[in-house]
């Protein structure tokens, strides 16, 4: 394990904890951006340059903007912050704990297979290799992705557009 990997993992785990533990939601978002950057570092260590760039552009750049917008939409004043009853906290702890239990039980017997250094292709994550596979072997899913994006566009317009005559704020 290289020191760079250890450092990135350390920062990733710490900032991921910061996302959950930060009191201020804006600080959570900033920690999440840091987590994304460290994950991009991991992608680079795995020689997946396209994933690393896309992770920065889409997640750290665009999705984070949406997160910040959602935070701005919510009413974040201290006095309106809802206090969960003890029963809800207890139920949440049980639900989260059982999810953790299932994950640990599923991962316990996993036997990671090593790689064969003679046949291992280190260039498999490059943009050109990925493009060839995407546009030749997976051309149909690629076209379906455009329909998915179209559906998302129409859906967001349907939900968000104020029609004339509606009550607005």
């Amino acid at each position: 394990m290289s020191p760079l990997f250890l450092f990135l993992s350390f920062v990733a785990l710490l900032s991921a904890l910061g996302v959950v533990l930060a009191k201020n939601p804006v600080h959570s978002v900033l920690f999440l951006i840091l987590t994304f950057f460290t994950l991009s570092g991991h992608y680079l260590l795995l020689n997946a340059q396209f994933l690393a760039a896309v992770n920065i552009i889409v997640y750290a750049g665009a999705i984070m903007v949406l997160f910040l917008f959602v935070i701005m939409f919510l009413n974040l004043n201290e006095e309106t912050e809802p206090h969960k009853p003890a029963l809800a906290k207890f139920a949440a702890a049980i639900a989260g704990g059982s999810l953790l239990l299932i994950l640990v039980a599923a991962m316990r017997n996993v036997n990671p297979v090593g790689y064969d250094p003679t046949s291992f292709d280190s260039q498999i994550g490059m943009v050109d290799r990925l493009g060839l596979v995407l546009f030749q072997q997976y051309a149909l899913p690629f076209e379906l992705a455009s329909i998915l994006l179209l559906a998302a566009m129409v859906g967001s317009v349907m939900l968000g557009k104020r029609e004339t005559g509606e009550r607005n704020f």
Partner: protein
Amino acid sequence: MRPKPVGATFALQRLLVLLRSNLTAMLLVLPAANYQPSDYLPILIQFGLALAFVAFAMIVSHLVGPKRNSTVKDASFECGIESVGNARTPISVKYFLTAIVFVLFDVEVIFMYPWAVNFRALGNDGFIAMILFMFFLLAGFAYIIKKGILRWNEA
């Protein structure tokens, strides 16, 4: 005896030859690169320099600049008007719609990077695939324009 080329024309010819050979190299011959994670060291150094400059600028401005503290100086907006309420008020959903549209078109552009890199290798099939892809997304764009999502002046 051949006339010796005049200095300027000779240099121009050399430049043209150089440009042509470079263009052919850029357009036709793809370098058989073998990237390794260590090739990103320059980017890492640039990241470090950028961060160091930010830290340097902040620390130096803190040390060098004058400091005067008073209620007026510490107000968020020093424009003579008392600030009212707080900044955490709900905002218009219009901003959010614009942001969602931005994310969708951002994802669209992501698909164009691997396509552009392989533009020659993919040939006509790849071109038609991208035309179809763009057709669906531009249909969505036309819908957005028609619905007036990007118009701000009307309610």
